[in-house]
């Protein structure tokens, strides 16, 4: 078992956010199949809810999509009014995929060496 190191999720996965009303979804996809279980273990609903608590997020549901090396996070009430009601410059919440990618993950050193540019 190799040593574990902490790296940004951004080096292991890519993501895209979309909105419907006051609800945001973020599709998150591992670049490497072996990163998928690490993400599954560490990017939990609780952790994502905490990441968006300052915006009033009420609930997070995580759907697992192993055939796509992915997950879908559905985050309720995070847009503070959505595209038609928000005061935020980004009423759609389109930039928020990169807030998720700012989380850090503990991964084996060997994977960290492969990951990212």
């Amino acid at each position: 078992m190799s040593d574990m190191v902490e790296i940004p999720l951004h080096r292991l996965a890519h993501a895209r956010a979309g909105d419907k009303g006051n609800r945001l979804n973020i599709g998150l996809f591992a670049y490497y199949p072996e990163a998928w279980p690490l993400i599954a273990g560490q990017v939990t609903e609780e952790r994502v809810l905490a990441l968006f608590a300052h915006r009033g997020a009420a609930r997070v549901r995580r759907y697992e999509l192993p055939k796509l090396d992915g997950f879908n996070f559905v985050i309720d009430d995070v847009l503070q009014g959505g595209v038609n009601g928000a005061l935020n410059l980004d009423g759609h919440g389109k930039t928020l995929s990169f807030r998720l990618l700012g989380l850090t993950l503990r991964v084996p050193e060997a994977l960290a060496e492969r990951a990212g540019p």
Partner: protein, 459 residues
């Protein structure tokens, strides 16, 4: 067995590149065989604005860029038997059709057959008398007197009917975006209305196409991690749909962009919630069994979409007045910029109550933290960014009246003299807002209508 059908998408939203459809049409013609072109230009907010436009001008209320999108491609599509399906009718499909017929006459296409799909506009009808809330809008109560617009998401059937009737251009108002692709597939392959797995495959395909370049390398590049060549000439997508529902996503040869597993994955989940139950008017789509495979450069094959019966009810989006938004921005740069910008923000917060302006207020420090933060500014208050060299203070205020919004915005302007040292580049903006709510309405109270128009109708 019917030959495969190619569907190109030349626009992914109102505001997309006007020159995007050209290379898609070129590629469809070069490939030969049956093909259709979809142009998606209608968002929830776009439609509400269009309804207002139509009230001000009975001939308006459709996509303003429709003629500019169609002018370079209409004659070629007509000559090669490529029907065009667009939701650019917005609040006035018939008005849009008349404009297209006028364009056709100008281009020497007097016999062009244009169909309109109507019936999505349910304002003032009994469809709004029996509402169930859409998930996420629970508890919403509708005051009919407030309704600016109420439009139901129509499905693929009326589009298919128009195409079977020989339409060369089909213009809808509110239709489910994937239906713009599914309609031509139903017309071509003759899929039954309860052939759930094929309808699901067609819907998945339409979903991948509906945002245009978002599946071909648009909204994707992250330098060093996800690189995209030729973003200035990105190729818009083409799907090759087979009779059994398997399909391939690709793009015109010689264009920029990329189609690979990553671009398709990102778009597959875009704006989707429960991946096992994506509700559309035509089918309930389950994408959890989908398999993607790269099949040559810029080609991804998609199989395994599953469908279950369509929902009993149709989704309707209702637009209501949403008050006013007043905004202002001003820049601070150089030594102590953050402290000066923060002082400007505190000054604004002190001024608004003096002017009797209540409501929601937000202050951003663009360059420290803005879009990630909530309205309460918690991230900004705890940000350790020492002293950014160049940042922009932004005020946003939600008000009931235009006058309050204007007065709030003016406070940012007056910082040019009354604010901290070295503020510059002030800009203000006041807009009225439209609030939307979604409901589920009874399917049997919605009556889609297809009408074929001829050149005489364009007068």
């Amino acid at each position: 067995m019917a030959p495969l059908l190619r569907i190109g998408c030349g626009s992914g939203f109102s505001g997309d590149r006007i020159d995007a459809p050209g290379p898609v049409v070129d590629a469809l013609i070069a490939a030969g065989g049956p093909a259709a072109l979809m142009l998606e230009v209608l968002g929830e907010r776009t439609l509400a604005l269009a309804q207002r436009d139509r009230r001000a001008n009975p001939d308006g209320g459709y996509e303003p860029a429709l003629e500019a999108l169609l002018r370079p491609i209409l004659a070629r599509c007509a000559a090669h038997g490529i029907p065009i399906v667009t939701n650019g009718g917005a609040a006035n499909p018939r008005g849009a059709a008349k404009a297209v017929l006028r364009l056709a006459r100008e281009l020497g296409l007097p016999g062009l057959r244009v169909a309109v799909v109507e019936g999505d506009d349910v304002r003032g009808t009994d469809a709004l008398d029996d509402l169930q809330p859409w998930e996420g809008d629970e508890g919403a109560v509708l005051d009919p007197a407030q309704v600016i617009a109420a439009n139901v998401y129509l499905g693929a059937a009326p589009i298919a009917e128009a195409l079977r009737g020989g339409a060369q251009v089909v213009i809808t108002g509110r239709a489910a975006d994937p239906a713009l692709a599914l309609g031509p597939m139903i017309a071509h392959f003759g899929w039954a209305e309860d052939d759930w797995n094929r309808l699901a495959a067609g819907t998945a395909c339409g979903h991948l196409l509906e945002c245009g370049s978002q599946v071909t390398g648009g909204y994707f590049a992250d330098p060093g991690f996800k690189d995209v060549p030729g973003m200035h000439e990105i190729g818009f997508p083409i799907a090759e749909m087979e009779a059994d529902g398997g399909f391939t996503i690709t793009k015109p040869p010689g264009t920029g962009g990329v189609v690979d597993l990553r671009t398709v994955k990102e778009q597959l989940l875009y704006e989707l919630h429960d991946p096992a139950a994506y509700l559309t008017p035509d089918v309930t789509l389950d994408i959890t069994g989908i398999t993607l495979a790269e099949d040559g450069p810029d080609r991804v094959r998609v199989t395994g979409a599953r469908g279950t019966p369509r929902p009993e009810r149709l989704k309707a989006t209702v637009s209501l007045p949403g008050g006013w938004l007043g905004e202002g921005e001003i820049s601070y740069a150089g030594p102590n910029a953050r402290a000066r910008a923060e002082l400007a923000g505190r000054t604004l917060r002190d001024r608004l109550p003096m002017l009797g302006i209540g409501g929601r207020v937000r202050v951003d420090l663009i360059g420290v933290v803005s879009v990630f933060d909530g309205d309460a500014g918690i991230l900004g208050d705890t940000s350790l960014t020492a002293d950014p060299a160049d940042l922009r203070l932004r005020l946003a205020v939600a008000t009931e009246t235009k006058e309050e919004a204007e007065r709030a915005a003016r406070e940012v302007l007056s910082l040019l003299c009354c604010g901290p040292a070295g503020g510059g580049g002030a800009r203000t903006r006041v807009v009225d807002r439209i609030r939307t709510l979604s409901f589920m309405v009874p399917r049997e109270r919605v009556h889609p209508r297809v009408t074929m128009l001829a050149l005489g109708d364009a007068a």
